[in-house]
Symmetry: C2
């Protein structure tokens, strides 16, 4: 295990995606593996935690996820943005995207797909088969089996970005991202 | 129509949610209406555009959306954060949440649910019935029928926040949000 990745309680794992960051989807099956970037992922349930992920039917990731029933979500930070964009604009069918994107990996604990080093959080996921969603909408539902975060960036159920390079990022379009911005707290509502 | 809301081409409407902002869900049926805040919404498809939304089965919103087959997503900005938090922490069953949250509304064009004034973008949505998703996962799929944005904040397919109060916001937990942060562009990937 990457020494930056510390366990996150499963019931708190939705917090890793709750603010809508872009993710990196990794998958592996039959000696092949792939990585793609995905803006369309979000939590679906708290405990047991579930996530939603849209995977286009043309992608190698789709083939590997359907074959293995597993994927991982790694949450990248701003320092990796160039590689995130690269992973979103090339196909794994043309050769290993990890090397071409500059991503290094480490082993997950519950699934075969690798996790992306130097990200700030990770979720290991097992697909809950819902063939109608998958075929009709390219939509996958998965249970989160294990979750991890870099404690310098997420701990105690809160993000606390230590520097600009480790902020999570949100995809806009055309190679443009937003960094996660200023945190602010609202007073409890008067009801 | 609110004079701040200008049409957004349907094929570009996913850009209003792509970066993962929190949303306000409005619904109406049989003379009743409601508003709730929702972090768990995201695009599902480009054209025709579809969105995903999780609606807990205990909520009045769920009852109104199931009865009407419609809902709207209004994308609030930082100036509304206190009201967004209020709308997420009270029930519409206890009385009109619009007044208690301080929200004013204006009429949608394609659906009966109202839109929230002083937000920065709006999506009018019709549910695509998927009973298994709704019953098993509290998950709703909807087609976007019309989309609108304040052109001072979103135009030409891009967000360009003119001031801190009109930045979109992302929900963390416990009354804590992130503002949408700095925009940055990555160079095209070398493939």
């Amino acid at each position: 295990m990457n020494n930056k990745a510390q366990p996150v309680a499963l019931a708190k794992s939705y917090l890793l995606l709750n603010h809508g960051p872009v993710t990196l989807v990794t998958s592996a099956s039959g000696g092949r593996r792939n990585v793609m970037s995905a803006a369309w992922s979000m939590p679906l349930d708290f405990d047991p935690p579930k996530v939603l992920l849209v995977i286009d039917r043309q992608t190698l990731t789709r083939e590997l996820v359907e074959a293995s029933g597993e994927f991982a979500l790694s949450v990248p930070c701003r320092a990796l943005a160039d590689a995130v964009l690269a992973a979103g604009s090339m196909s794994g069918r043309d050769g290993d995207k990890f090397a071409r994107s500059g991503f290094e990996t480490f082993a997950a604990t519950r699934i075969g797909a690798p996790l992306i080093r130097d990200c700030v959080a990770w979720l290991e996921c097992r697909v809950i088969p819902e063939p109608v969603n998958q075929q009709r909408y390219d939509l996958f539902i998965a249970e989160v089996l294990a979750a991890w975060a870099d404690p310098e960036v997420f701990s105690g159920g809160r993000w606390h970005f230590p520097d600009a390079g480790r902020k999570t990022i949100h995809y806009q379009a055309g190679g443009t991202f937003f960094a996660t911005g200023e945190a602010f707290e609202c007073p409890p509502a008067v009801q």
